[in-house]
């Protein structure tokens, strides 16, 4: 089955200090049949989004690797400037908003200005949702901006049932499957919100795609739904019919 991985980071891994390079990613993509990946820079996610986004820009636009611009609610002006710089480019597929403080979810108050500026780009917004409080925060944001598609990265962690319940009511929320490996997650998610609102992510380089792939394959859902999660939802969400990313 074709796979699109929407959750990948490239660069030096925090804590370990080892590099996860474009070459490493390419080999991973070949090994697992990942046809496209949406990547951000580890630097952008951990410390310096401006520098990280510039690193991402240098990697994307080569056909199979697409960019995700990262912004930080602690720096709204700089965030909006980076969005203008990158999100109009076809090689950037998404925006990720971070709170800048690990363990604290992005809140509506903090990101309203950024999202108002983002409306014109019409690209999906990725929000990290490792727990229940982050799910509720994402729901509040999605309700306030119904015209934007929001992806809950990590699907609430162990609170994935809460993520499913929330997404069932808030129709512009999409569930990304990496993180918690509960065997029910895929089955219940697809039965409740539909596979067309679930999307595959691996969380490379922190998790091997084998885990998330095995999780989806283990789900008690039809093969067509698995294919939808692996690639179909992402294709539709990003407007990809099969073409490569154009070079800038």
């Amino acid at each position: 089955m074709a796979i699109i991985d929407i959750r990948v980071q490239l660069g030096t891994m925090p804590i370990w200090g080892t590099a996860f390079t474009e070459g490493h990613l390419t080999r991973m993509m070949e090994r697992y049949g990942i046809e496209r990946a949406v990547v951000s820079a580890t630097t952008a996610n951990s410390s310096d989004f401006v520098k990280g986004n510039a690193q991402t820009k240098s990697i994307v636009g080569k056909g199979r690797i697409f960019g995700c611009a990262v912004v930080n609610t602690q720096y709204p002006a700089e965030s909006i400037e980076d969005m203008r710089q990158y999100l109009a480019l076809p090689s950037f597929a998404a925006l990720m908003i971070l709170s800048g403080r690990p363990g604290y979810p992005v809140t509506l108050d903090e990101c309203s200005d950024i999202l108002n500026a983002h409306r014109r780009f019409a690209k999906p917004v990725l929000l990290e949702t490792p727990d229940k409080s982050a799910v509720f925060a994402a729901d509040q944001i999605a309700r306030a901006f119904p015209g934007i598609k929001f992806v809950m990265l990590g699907m609430g962690g162990s609170a994935w049932r809460t993520a499913v319940a929330v997404a069932d009511k808030t129709l512009n929320l999409v569930l990304e499957v990496s993180g918690n490996l509960s065997p029910d997650k895929i089955t219940v998610g697809a039965a409740t919100v539909g596979a067309h609102r679930m999307v595959f992510g691996s969380n490379l380089p922190f998790a091997d795609p084998a885990a998330s792939i095995g999780l989806v394959l283990d789900g008690e859902i039809p093969d067509a739904d698995k294919q939808m999660i692996f690639a179909g939802t992402a294709r539709r969400m990003f407007g990809w019919g099969g073409q490569s990313a154009p070079a800038e």
Binding site: N180, P183, P205, A207, P209, A210, L215
Partner: protein, 239 residues
């Protein structure tokens, strides 16, 4: 290749909505070709180790694919009654401890009492070491002894600590279910050797398929994979 899953549970799931019934476990084990599973009732984690151990023995009876695992909550263990040897004589193959889920620190004198009480036998012990500092504490408590200790729940952030402790203490092993970082298994094989890695899935709380796929796609040799998937735990259990 024989697959023995060293980390499974069954029973009630009070904190997260989940079907982790024994039927679910047995179905997953069958579906993925797992030969044997070391398992225990979650009653022993969330309610009482006495009730849980009784449930484990009862549920494993007549099911040769399940090997019973005992648990003890140090907060409710009063020594001198030779409970550990009684449990071993009942047929329990391993002991597990749940400091994180039960909310007690590894720096706990009763835990040390229990481990000392078990020194006369070689039944393996598995303890969660998911928090930073856990593996180091366990190294100080049980490292250097004959008794095999399996670190469970080691993640990306605690892998370096686990490796350091394992290099110091040859009786310490690591279980795989939380070890999802790419190349993590090959790294462990290089650092501590395939003989010290034990396959576990946390099924049915976690996906058995996902855990198995991580091992099978790791790129380690067939010989090493055979050790990880079953050979090592079989050796620790006495064959």
């Amino acid at each position: 290749m024989e697959i023995i899953d060293a980390n499974t549970t069954f029973g009630p799931s009070p904190r997260i909505t989940a079907d982790i019934s024994i039927d679910r476990l047995l179905a997953a084990v069958k579906r993925h070709g797992v030969t044997k599973s070391l398992t225990l009732s979650t009653v022993g984690i969330f309610h009482s180790h006495n009730d849980g151990n009784a449930d484990t023995i009862a549920q494993c009876q007549g099911k040769p694919e399940l090997l019973p695992v005992a648990t003890i909550d140090p907060r409710g263990y009063f020594g001198g009654l030779k409970q550990t040897s009684n449990l071993i004589s009942q047929g329990f193959k391993m002991f597990r401890f749940f400091p994180g889920e039960q909310g007690w620190p590894l720096d706990h004198n009763v835990l040390e009492d229990i481990l000392e009480e078990m020194e006369d036998n070689s039944v393996p012990v598995m303890i969660n070491a998911g928090r930073t500092g856990d593996a180091s504490a366990l190294g100080r408590i049980i490292g250097g002894k004959e008794h095999p200790l399996i670190l469970e729940g080691v993640v990306f952030e605690t892998l370096a600590e686990a490796v350091s402790v394992m290099k110091k203490h040859s009786n310490i092993y690591v279980e795989t279910h939380s070890l999802l970082v790419p190349g993590g298994l090959r790294f462990l094989v290089d650092q501590v050797g395939a003989d010290r890695i034990i396959f576990g899935s946390d099924c049915p709380r976690s996906s058995l398929g996902g855990a198995l796929r991580y091992i099978k796609d790791s790129g380690i040799s067939d010989e090493d994979m055979s050790k990880v998937l079953g050979g090592n735990i079989k050796r620790l259990l006495g064959g």
